[in-house]
C-alpha cells in the first residue's frame, strides 16, 4: 500500500499542497484528477520523494524518507510529464537505463520485451531525439516498465507512478498505455496516474482522488467519486456524469458552456489600443 499522510508542500512560501491524505492499493489503478494547478503533480512528486514535504509517505508501512535510492528504485518506477534527453542515445539505450541491477537487470530480454509492449518493436536502434513526441513518451514508458518489469517482486507489489501518461498520445495509443497500466494492476502491481482525461479515468481507474486548490476534495471508488457535484465543484464548471448504452461505460461531458464559479479574472476580449506617443 502506498500511503501519504498530512502532506504539505510549499514553494517559496506559497502552499502547493495543504495537509493532503492519499492512499493507493496494489491491484488497482488510482487516478489523481483535478484542474490545472490543483496539486496533482506535486502530490505525485511527494509520493516519489522528489519534493521536500511535511508529513509522511510510506510504502508498505516503511517511511520512504528512510529508504535508499536503489531500494525505492527497485519498488517503484516514475514516468515524468516531460522527458528531455541530453545526448543522442538510441531507443534501446534509453530503455536499458531503466534496468536496475539485481531486479530486472539480470534479464537481457526485458528491454526488447518492454519496447514490444508499447508497440515500438522495430525502434531499438533509432535515435531517441529523432522520434515524435508521442513515440518518445512511449519509449519513456518502456524504460519505466523495464525498471519494474515484474509487477510483484519478492512477494511485494511494485508501483508505476505515471504523470499524465497519455498527454501527447493519439486515441489508440491512449488506450494502449492505459491498457498496459490495467494489466500491470491486474496481476498485483500498483498504479498511480495523474490524469486530465476524465473519460479515460472513468474507463480505467478503480479508485479516483479528486484535488482542487492543493487539497483533496474526495477519494474513493470511481463510481462513488465521479459524480456531477464533486467534479463540477472541483473543476468550476457544470459537468454531467452519464452512463452510455449499450456498453454501460461511464462518461463525463460539460452540460453548459458557462463556468459555474470564478476561476480567475476573465476580462472580455476587446480591441487593445497602445499608446505609442513618447
Amino acid at each position: 500500500m502506498l500511503q501519504a499522510k498530512n502532506i504539505t508542500v510549499s514553494f517559496g512560501g506559497k502552499k502547493a499542497l495543504r495537509g493532503v491524505d492519499f492512499t493507493a492499493q496494489p491491484g488497482q489503478i488510482t487516478a489523481i484528477v483535478g484542474p490545472n494547478g490543483s496539486g496533482k503533480t506535486t502530490l505525485l512528486r511527494a509520493l516519489t520523494g522528489e519534493v521536500e514535504h511535511n508529513g509522511t509517505v510510506s510504502l508498505d508501512s516503511h517511511d520512504i524518507a528512510g529508504m535508499k535510492g536503489w531500494e525505492l528504485a527497485a519498488r517503484r518506477a516514475v514516468l515524468p510529464q516531460a522527458a528531455a534527453l541530453a545526448f543522442p542515445f538510441t531507443v534501446i539505450e534509453v530503455v536499458r537505463m531503466g534496468l536496475f541491477g539485481g531486479t530486472s537487470g539480470g534479464d537481457a530480454t526485458v528491454p526488447s520485451a518492454a519496447l514490444a509492449r508499447v508497440g515500438l518493436s522495430g525502434y531499438a536502434d533509432r535515435l531517441y531525439q529523432e522520434l515524435s513526441g508521442g513515440e518518445q513518451q512511449r519509449v519513456q514508458l518502456a524504460r519505466v516498465l523495464a525498471q519494474v518489469w515484474h509487477p510483484v517482486w519478492q512477494g511485494a507489489a511494485r508501483w508505476l507512478l505515471l504523470d499524465e501518461p497519455v498527454a501527447s498520445l493519439d486515441i489508440a495509443h491512449q488506450l494502449l498505455v492505459m491498457g498496459i497500466a490495467r494489466d500491470f494492476a491486474k496481476v498485483g502491481g500498483g498504479v498511480v496516474a495523474v490524469m486530465h482525461d476524465l473519460n479515460l479515468t472513468a474507463m480505467f481507474a478503480d479508485t479516483v482522488a479528486v484535488m482542487a486548490a492543493g487539497q483533496m476534495v474526495a477519494q474513493g471508488p470511481m463510481a462513488q467519486v465521479m459524480t456531477d457535484d464533486t467534479l463540477s465543484h472541483a473543476y468550476g464548471c457544470g459537468l454531467r456524469v452519464s452512463v452510455a448504452p449499450p456498453m454501460t461505460s461511464t462518461f463525463v461531458l460539460p452540460h453548459t458552456a458557462q463556468l459555474t464559479h470564478d476561476i480567475g479574472p476573465l476580462a472580455p476580449f476587446s480591441a487593445v489600443r497602445t499608446n505609442t506617443g513618447c
Partner: protein
Amino acid sequence: MAAITDALLDTPKGGREVTARRAHLWLLALLVISCLFSLAYGAAGTSLWGALSKLATGQVLSDMERVVLWDIRAPRTLMGASVGASLAVAGAVMQGLFRNPLADPGLVGVGAGAGLGAISAIVLAAWLPVAFIDLFGNWLVSAAAFFGGWASTLLLYRVATRSGRTSVATMLLAGIALGALAGAVSGILVYMADDTQLRDLTFWGLGSLAGATWPKLFVAGPLILASIAAAGFLGRGLNAMALGEATAHHIGIPVQRLKNVAVMTVAASTGAAVAVAGGIGFVGIVVPHLLRLATGPDHRMLLPNAALLGASLLIGADVIARVVIAPAELPIGIVTAVLGAPVFLWILLRRRGLVDL
C-alpha cells in the same frame, strides 16, 4: 586524423556498443603510435631508433641521447598523455553533469580559478623573499594554479549547494560569475606586471608542455590518474543524468553523491592539468564531442575512450608544436585551437540535426 574520424563517423548506429568497444583498441594503438612519434621527433636531431638499436646491441647511449630521450622527451610525452587525458575526461564528465555538450571546466570557473592562481604566482613572485623563490620557484606557478582551481571549485560548490542539493543551473551561472571575477582580478595583476612577467604570462596562458620534468610528472601524474580512475565509476550515473536529475534519482542513482564525485574529479584533473601545462583549450570539448558522434553518448565507453583520444591528441599537438618551427616552439594551445576549432565546426555542420545544443 581526418581519416580516422571519418571512419568512426560513418559507422552504422546499430552496432554502436560494439564499435565503442572496438574503438578502445584503435585508440590504444593510436596512443602508442603518438608516444613513439613524440619520443622520436624533436628539435634535437636525436634518433629514437638509433638509441634503440644501440640498446639492442648492448652499446652505451651517449650523454646527449640519454638527456634528450630520457630527461626531456620521455617526461614530456607522459605529461602530454596525462594532461590530454585529464582535459578530455574533465570535459566529458562536466558535459554529462550539466547535460550540455558545450559545458567545459572553463565554463564553471575552474579554469579561470586555476589561471588566476598561476597569474598571481607569476606577478606576485617579485614581492616574495628571495630565499623562498630559490627553494620553491619552479613549483610556485604550478602549485598556485592547482590551488586556484581547487579553491574556485569549492567556492562554487558552496554557492550552488543548499541543504545538501546542488542546483546545476545555479552552478552554471555562478561559474560564469566566478570566471568573470577571476578574469577581472587576473586583469588587474596583468596590468601590474612588468615586461618579463608579461612574456611569462602570455606563454603560460597559451599553454605548453615544455616545462615537463620527472618531478613535476610525479606530482601531477598520480592526481590525474586518480581522477581519471574515479571518473570510471561515473559512467552509469552520468548516462542516467541525461534523463534529468529527477529521473536519475527515480532510477536509483545516488544523484548527490554522483555530483560530489563528478565535481571533485573535474576540479582535480583540471587543476593539475592547468598547473603543469597552462591554458590548453578545445581538448575538453572536441574529444568527447567527436567520440559521442562516432560511438554514441554512453559514458561507460565515452570516458575511457576520451582519456585515450585526449592523450593521443595532445601528444600529437605537442609534436607539431615543437617540430613545425624548430628549434623554436609554438605554444601548444595554438596548435590545439588550430586543429580543434575547424574539426569542431566541421562536426557541427555535418551532424547539425543531431547535435542538440
